[in-house]
Amino acid sequence: MQFFRKQFPILLAFAMGMTMFIREFVPAKIATDLYEGFTKWAIVIVGFSAVFAILSLLHHHVNRVRRKVPGYGYSMVTIIAFIQMLLLGLIFSVRPGTPVGWEYWWLFVPMQATMFATLAFFIASAAFRAFRARTWEALALLIAGLLVMIGRVPIGEFISPYLSDFAGWIMNNPNMAGLRGVVLGVALAQIAISVRIIFGIERTYMGGGD
């Protein structure tokens, strides 16, 4: 039993990790088929995992209602919404024109859009915080940010034809250099963490600590 809890997952991670690594360099059809096969496995596993998700959701909210924790009314709304959606879907299907379709288009989608729209206000408040020039770095950020913003709108072109070029230069040179540095670092770090996981050095993901 200990073998299946400790060694087997590490062996499995090693075998799968090495297979996927080798596959990258093998153009033969068997490698493509193997990859497609694993992808299908993943889809099946994800399908089954939805059951865990539903159980977790209901367990969490039923417990909140039962214990009457503050704000348990929201949990009741969640449970009722879940049950009615499930029943309507089972009875009338989920195609457009059905009650589920109506709820989706006229409740779910507008609420999603509302949430997305709040981003505009958050950007304004975040920009206000970011553009307080308390240090030299913040001042440089403020100036660069203002130049890029003005250079990317028509009024920038109106003020000076060089402004949009300068904004482009900031984006394509200093900004791109920094961005590539981050991306390169991330790529190397991803290889390092892959090596750690494949060789069983990093095992936290197994849930068993070290």
Binding site: M115, A130, V186, I193, I201, E202, G207, D210
Partner: protein, 502 residues
């Protein structure tokens, strides 16, 4: 007034003189209106050739350049489904000139059009698919070639009832099996033509048939150039067989670098076994983890931990889960509350196990509450709304945003900031980094997210990998510097070494 009158008089005189000059010229006879039959007939009877008088009309002779240097090769580094047809390009070619490749299973045909390209497109450099170090030497002999890729693959073509191709698969990917008429799924040919019951006429029906992939054996190709109605055909019929390859030579440089880098990491791990006191650079964001957990404990408020919006297939999610394990252990030590709302069901399952193990490792398995690690929703903005709700209601004292994020990052982090919580973010999503930097107290930028687990654990083995990673980064920096200098002076072989040829 007098001046004005004299100027006006001069102006009118000039205008009058110009008008007289124009009127004096003979008006040109207008040509007959296009399509006027009487006028055209009159011109034909008179046998008039404008501009040539009695000479014979010159017929422009169209010459079509004959394709030369045509080669047909097996496409290297593929799964045995491709052939590569190349021929030499002329210095200047017009788009009116078209090249058409025909494919057959026998040298005598029947030929099926595999595809055509305009004269001024589809160029390549003849560097082939060589190991990069040779690429540099080969490059000096490169020629400008046209190329067409003939791919045998699963595809669907449209044929009429008589088996003639009507619509071939998409351009460039040409699955062609000459003589393959419409067939049933069991391979029997479909009877040609369908008799219309109303008229009794044979209707030319169209059928969609699936062409069997992977033609085994030799394929024959011929090339034709066309300019207007004139054509020129390469005299030789070429043949080649597509072969399956077991190693992609064009990725040799990638393989060597990956192995070298992996070996460096493993070397430093083994070195860390012997010398556990490796120096690792300081990461401020991770030093603040203890501070954040301690603060939450003092305030008696929960700690909110998010694993990002991606699935377990994403390495950043794995990195976030690794950090979660370390955080869970410390939370258990401090006897605080850890809340982990999840977006992905599989991440949920793993997160529950990790937190459970973290509490067990800390000697507090009884403090683990499975109900605190729960599933919210898979929908992006519903998830963001739910997490914001938790922040506003429960007012966690510390928020951790680890993993990959999209547009919701600012909504989450800004709401958290408004509650006064200490916030630590870590992501490799470069587009979201500015939002986290603006709204969080500490941000792990890119690679720091992946280093965090090693840093927090302080275990020599894991720290060794971090050291190896830093050495690889140093190597890359030196190579970039040398490569930049050499390219500046016109030498590109270092750059070519790292070129993706695949």
């Amino acid at each position: 007034m007098k001046n004005n009158l004299s100027q006006a008089a001069i102006f009118f005189v000039l205008l009058f003189a110009l008008s007289l000059a124009g009127f004096a010229q003979e008006p040109e006879e207008l040509p007959p209106a296009a399509g006027d039959p009487s006028e055209i007939a009159a011109l034909q009877d008179a046998d008039i050739v404008i501009g040539l008088e009695e000479e014979e009309p010159e017929v422009p002779v169209t010459t079509v350049p004959l394709p030369s240097g045509v080669t047909l090769r097996d496409l290297p580094n593929d799964d045995g489904t491709g052939l590569y047809l190349t021929w030499e390009a002329f210095p200047e070619e017009s788009p009116e000139l078209t090249y058409t490749a025909y494919l057959a299973e026998t040298p005598n045909g029947p030929w099926l059009e595999a595809g055509s390209i305009a004269g001024n497109e589809s160029y390549m450099e003849d560097h082939g698919h060589y190991f990069p170090i040779f690429y540099w030497f080969k490059k000096s002999r490169e020629a400008k070639l046209h190329h067409v890729l003939l791919v045998q693959d699963v595809a669907t073509g449209e044929f009429d009832a008589k088996g003639n191709a009507i619509r071939l698969p998409e351009p460039e990917g040409f699955t062609v099996r000459p003589n393959v008429g419409p067939k049933n799924k069991d391979g029997r040919p479909i009877e040609p033509g369908i008799i219309d019951p109303d008229t009794g006429e044979e209707k030319v029906s169209t059928k969609l048939v699936e062409i069997q992939p992977r033609t085994i054996g030799e394929l024959y190709v011929k090339l034709e150039a066309r300019l207007g109605d004139a054509t020129a055909e390469y005299p030789e019929v070429l043949s080649a067989t597509a072969r399956e390859n077991w190693f992609d030579v064009s990725k040799t440089n990638m393989l060597i670098l990956a192995v070298l880098f992996g070996a460096t990491v493993l070397y430093f791990i083994s070195r860390a076994r012997r010398d556990p006191n490796l120096f690792i650079r300081k990461i401020n964001g991770l030093d603040a983890v203890d501070e954040a957990i301690g603060r939450a404990t003092e305030m008696g408020k929960p700690i909110l931990y998010l694993n990002g919006m991606s699935s377990l297939a994403d390495l950043s999610t794995l990195a976030a889960l690794n950090i979660l394990g370390r955080v869970a252990r410390r939370v258990a030590n401090y006897e605080s509350t850890l809340v982990v709302p999840c977006r992905d069901p599989i991440v949920l399952t793993v997160a529950q196990e990790i937190v459970k193990a973290g509490f067990a490792d800390a000697g507090r398995p009884d403090a683990y509450n499975e109900d605190n690690i729960f599933f919210l929703t898979e929908d992006q903005f519903s998830y963001a709304a739910a997490v914001c709700g938790i922040m506003m209601r429960d007012k966690p004292a510390a928020n951790f945003f680890m993993g990959y994020y999209y547009a919701e990052s600012l909504i989450l982090a800004e709401t958290g900031a408004s509650t006064g919580a200490i916030q630590i973010a870590g992501t490799d999503a470069v587009t979201q980094l500015p939002f986290f930097v603006t709204t969080c107290d500490y941000t792990l930028i890119g690679e720091e997210l992946y280093a965090a687990s090693a840093y927090l654990s302080r275990e020599p083995l894991v720290l060794g990998s971090l050291k190896g990673q830093d050495m690889a980064k140093l190597f890359m920096m030196v190579v970039i510097l040398i490569g930049t200098l050499l390219v500046t002076f016109g030498m590109s072989f270092v750059k070519d070494l790292f070129k993706a040829l695949g």
